[in-house]
């Protein structure tokens, strides 16, 4: 068995509230290999997005530990975690999170430029070609449909060739036809690049396409599907 790319041990998140401590996530562990794919499913407020945030190092757990690409996130400060994200992580969001002032091409170029790559423009163009937006390079997000915006976001996520791709409800804002098209794209790129995929979704069909799945309810793990 090869080394884990993403590992969580006894992860809990507790936040203070007016009625006392509120447990958002309780004692959750998981372990993913490179190239693996996992769906996190559950109803609204079940703790899915909290888990995703913790796994990606966007937030720190109240207890437990996350190891991402060999880095124990608990031991790192925010800037060091940012560096881990820069080196190993890509994101796709439900609300796309494209920068309004940048064209489609420039949005995809952004992570490449952060990395200082000289051929950022060519690689971004190539990626947009691969997601079928070769003709919309100079369009701004507001000039694109929801599905097109998400394809730009996916191209951007894969641009930095991440080891792990986190997707938060990637088809949540899209109709079923467009959603199916986007999930095809996600899995194809996942396989072509050997990327580990972690996605939060309501969509059972999308969850079915993942090798693994966990189901959360009230912050507790209630079901786990292993290959």
């Amino acid at each position: 068995m090869s080394a884990s790319i993403l590992k969580a041990q006894n992860l809990s998140k507790v936040v203070p509230s007016a009625e006392g401590a509120l447990i958002i996530l309780h004692d959750l562990s998981l372990d993913l290999q490179p190239g693996d794919s996992m769906a996190i499913v559950g109803s609204s407020g079940s703790g899915k997005s909290t888990l995703l945030g913790l796994l990606a190092g966007l937030d720190l757990p109240s207890s437990g530990e996350v190891t991402l690409a060999g880095n124990s996130l608990n031991d790192l400060d925010e800037d060091q975690r940012a560096q881990v994200r820069a080196d190993h992580v890509g994101f796709v969001f439900q609300s796309f999170q494209l920068l309004d002032s940048l064209s489609a091409l420039e949005n995809v170029m952004l992570p490449l430029e952060l990395d200082g790559l000289r051929d950022a423009r060519e690689r971004a163009r190539d990626l947009l070609d691969r997601v079928g937006l070769g003709q919309r390079l100079t369009h701004y997000p507001r000039q694109l449909s929801g599905g097109e915006q998400q394809r730009v976001a996916i191209a951007r996520a894969f641009a930095a060739e991440p080891d792990v791709l986190f997707a938060d409800e990637p088809t949540g804002n899209l109709d079923s036809h467009t959603g199916a098209h986007i999930s095809d794209l996600l899995f194809t790129l996942n396989q072509e690049n050997g990327t580990t995929l972690v996605l939060v979704t309501h969509d059972e069909r999308l969850a079915q396409r993942c090798r693994r799945a966990i189901r959360l309810e009230g912050g507790q793990l209630v079901d786990r599907r292993e290959p």
């Binding site: 990606a56 820069a86 002032s101 940048l102 200082g116 938060d168």
Partner: protein, 834 residues
């Protein structure tokens, strides 16, 4: 782990700036900075160049740019230092001497000048007394020019010879105007002007003679400044340096006030810049919360994200400030073009400093006002990409306001170099903001209760304001500050112009009559009343010398070369008067009314002289008056306006105490132009009376005041225009949410009239509140400024009550225009754009 190198961050910031600019994201901030820097640069240039022009005119009063004055001759190295710096030089020696002719003797004030004199302005002279004047020239060796007084006193005519000491000089012209005569304006002895080459031959200047030496200098300001710096530490105790400011009280006061006004106007421009930058930088930051969170997700560290935005702002700032400075530079040319009839044809250039100061002002304002919102960008949690409700951790409020205030204070101080002005404005502003902001918050709470019963447009319009009372109070304060800056500049303009008008009314006396004999007094007064609408009273003049103060000889009491020293070394013009002269104000003691009769006669002394002599109420002063000694007791001190062209006196005696002594009379009067014949008639009717024309001096003073006034008017217009521009720009930055809300309401079926009403209610109220704040703040700050800076009496300004209406109209219409997109564009388009 690798870090993002600075060069790559810079390249990224550059590209992001270009992209943001293309997408129109930076327009508001860019425009706000542009306007602010253009305004402060234009005012800076205008002020600097106008000041230069005014100083050039004012230097005429000195006859030079800089004068080294002393009671002994300047040392050769003091003169060589100046010539080595490339300065032009002229020499003047002044002394009193008795001019003797067969007809009699006359004490005169002799001035020996070289051929270069005067370095600024020109002499004026006439071929005969009261004949037509001609400018230029000067007496050649062997010649003398004299004032008409001397011709009258000694029955001389042009061509006669006079003896100055042992030297005979031929009178060639009648001296009518010396540019630098104002310092000795009240001297009663006639002037004789001669060439300095004849001085040695007079034999008058001996060791111990009472002589005044002046070295006149002219040159560029840098060389003059170097000369001043080099010479100042090497000055003898009996020497001092004077420039136009020191040389003349009228000009000094007018220039001083005008300069402070221009400074204040540029401070107002900076304040406007600050408000505009603060509003638009907050928008710049809040629109980048998502982007910042995303960049952090993509692996940018907090510092790098902060650096990225700081660099973007710096690039934007440098560009906007440079273009703004260029525009400001062009704008002042426009101003000078408009003023071309009033100003001298050649104006000194402003140099590069006003432009650099303008750019620096913009950048410091940007740093101070944009850093706090920018710092918030660095603290956006990356988790915001998943949860949009997450906002940056709020920094300490003190840090936010401290940074902005520090920036503002620094700029103000740099621009005005006046700590008092800075503190008055900043302190007054802060106090007003705190007080009024608190009141506004309270008022909004009250309004919230009332709102429940209001009609739909009011609820829609005001709901937006009242839901975020702090933000609404902030906006009202910001617009209030803009209105405050504009109204303050308008208010001070009126006040300054009034003061200047009063200082030199159109019928200010333009002639002095000296040596009116007691026998002629009533006839002269009657004739004068026919010629001039409001002649000043005739004051008796008795020359007298101060001998002792409380029994101590004054020579031992005063320090050398002080005002007191000069006063005790010559005869003072003593007078008596029943009433306190108009324009004089008592600062201590009482006028005669309350004095006991008997005992020592009362004496009223001018305040500054009293200070220099160390006098206080009750001191006993002994005078030598025509060989007799008289003692008097100080019973009051007076402030005197020396610049009002009325007869003014250092010492006024109680009536009845000097009447037994021989006196002549003095008065001043206004004669409308074109009455030269009447003047000649007057001179013929009363041959003993000396008539002095001060029209030229008055005209010079008036032209300087006209320049200052024009400057003040144009600067006011500029500040008003900048204020309006900033108001619109600032409003733009608060409209995003309102446009969205408008589109949403229209999507829900609200009609345009309803939305229009709601907008009018909202912005009208916002503007009205801003107007109230501005009116109260303006009174508070103006009260501070009048007291601390301008030395003017303060009184309330009822017209400020119009400000709430003006504010409601301005902000109301600007707001409705700014949000018309929400009314006209398809709601779907607006909503999709988010």
């Amino acid at each position: 782990m690798k870090r993002l190198p600075l060069t790559r961050l810079f390249a990224l910031a550059w590209r992001q700036s270009l992209r943001d600019a293309r997408a129109g994201e930076l327009r508001v901030l860019f425009f706000a900075l542009l306007v602010a820097v253009a305004a402060s640069t234009a005012i800076g240039y205008f002020g600097a160049r106008l000041n230069g022009a005014m100083l050039m005119r004012a230097t005429e009063f000195l006859g030079a740019d800089l004068v080294l004055r002393g009671s002994s001759q300047a040392s050769p190295d003091q003169v060589e230092t100046g010539t080595a710096l490339g300065l032009d030089h002229a020499r003047v020696v002044e002394f009193s001497s008795v001019i003797a002719t067969d007809a009699g003797i006359q004490l005169s004030s002799v001035k020996a000048v070289d051929s270069a004199y005067p370095l600024r302005g020109e002499l004026k002279s006439a071929a005969e007394p009261y004949a037509e004047e001609r400018s230029g020239g000067g007496p050649k060796p062997g010649e003398a020019w004299a004032q008409s007084q001397l011709f009258a006193a000694l029955e001389l005519k042009v061509g006669d010879t006079i003896e100055v000491g042992e030297k005979s000089l031929r009178l060639t012209r009648v001296l009518t105007y010396e540019p630098d005569s104002s310092a000795d304006f009240y001297s009663l002895t006639p002037r004789v002007l001669m060439h300095i080459d004849d001085l040695a031959a007079t034999g008058i200047i001996q060791p111990g003679s009472r002589v005044s030496y002046r070295e006149l200098w002219r040159g560029d300001s840098q060389a003059l400044a170097r000369y001043r710096d080099t010479l100042t530490p090497r000055l003898q105790p009996n020497q001092r340096l004077e420039d136009a400011r020191d040389g003349n009280r009228q000009i000094g006061n007018a220039l001083g006030r005008a300069e402070r006004y221009l400074n204040l106007a540029s401070l107002a421009a900076v304040l406007l810049a600050g408000v505009a930058v603060a509003l638009s930088a907050a928008r710049f930051a809040s629109r980048r919360f998502d982007a910042s969170a995303l960049l952090r997700c993509l692996g940018l560290s907090r510092h790098a994200a902060l650096g990225l935005y700081a660099m973007q702002l710096a690039m934007l700032g440098l560009l906007a400030c440079s273009i703004g400075a260029l525009l400001g530079w062009l704008a002042q040319y426009g101003l000078f073009h408009l003023l071309r009839g009033m100003l001298p044809a050649t104006l000194p250039g402003g140099g590069v400093w006003p432009a650099l100061a303008g750019i620096a002002t913009g950048m410091v304002a940007l740093a101070g006002f944009a850093l706090p919102p920018l710092a918030a960008l660095g603290r956006v949690p990356p988790l915001r990409v998943l949860r949009r409700d997450m906002l940056p951790v709020a920094p300490s409020t003190w840090f936010i306001y401290g940074a902005a205030l520090l920036a503002l204070g620094l700029i103000m101080w740099r621009l005005s170099l006046d700590l008092m002005l800075t503190f008055a404005l900043l302190g007054g502003g802060i106090a007003a903001a705190l007080l009024l902001g608190g009141l506004l918050l309270l008022a909004m709470r009250g309004l919230r209760r009332l709102l429940a019963k209001a009609s739909l447009p009011w609820r829609l319009g005001l709901g937006q304001l009242l839901r975020y009372p702090l933000a609404a109070a902030g906006q009202a304060l910001a617009f209030g500050l803009i209105l405050l800056a504009m109204s303050l500049i308008a208010l001070l303009r009126g006040e300054l112009l009034d003061t200047w008008q009063n200082q030199l009314p159109a019928n200010a006396p333009n002639h002095f009559a000296l040596n009116v004999l007691p026998a002629d007094k009533d006839a002269f007064a009657a004739r004068l009343a026919e010629l001039s609408p409001h002649p000043a009273p005739l004051f008796p003049i008795i020359p007298g010398r101060l001998l002792t103060i409380n029994g101590e000889p004054v020579r031992e009491l005063v320090s050398k070369d002080t005002q007191g020293d000069r006063a005790v070394r010559r005869d003072l013009s003593l007078t008596w008067a029943q009433d306190l002269p108009s324009d004089n104000t008592l600062t201590a003691g009482t006028w005669w009314g309350g004095l006991p009769t008997g005992g020592l006669p009362g004496l009223s002394v001018e305040t500054q002289l009293a200070e220099s002599l160390g006098l206080k109420l009750g001191d006993r002063l002994r005078f030598n008056i025509g060989g007799l000694e008289r003692e008097a007791q100080v019973t009051s001190l007076r402030d005197v306006h020396w610049d009002n062209f009325q007869p003014n006196f250092y010492m006024i005696f109680q009536p009845g105490t000097l009447q037994d002594l021989p006196a002549t009379y003095l008065t001043s009067f206004y004669l409308p132009p074109g009455n030269d014949k009447a003047l000649v008639g007057l001179a013929r009717q009363f041959p003993a009376v000396t008539l002095l024309q001060v029209e030229a001096l008055l005209a010079q003073l008036r032209s300087i005041l006209a320049q200052v006034t024009a400057a003040v008017e144009f600067v006011l217009l500029f500040v008003l225009a900048a204020g309006l521009a900033v108001l619109f720009a600032g409003l733009q930055s608060t409209l995003d949410e309102r446009i969205r809300q408008g589109a949403l309401l229209r999507a829900l079926g609200a009609g345009r009239p309803l939305l229009l009403k709601a907008r009018r209610a909202e912005f009208g109220l916002l503007g009205g509140c801003a107007g109230v704040l501005a009116a109260l703040g303006c009174e508070l700050v103006s009260a501070l400024l009048y007291r601390l800076v301008f030395d003017l009496p303060w009184h309330p300004h009822p017209w400020l009550l119009l400000l709430p209406v003006i504010g409601a109209l301005l902000v109301g219409s600007a707001g409705v225009i700014g949000t018309r997109r929400a009314l006209n564009a398809s709601p779907l388009t607006v909503l999709r754009e988010g």
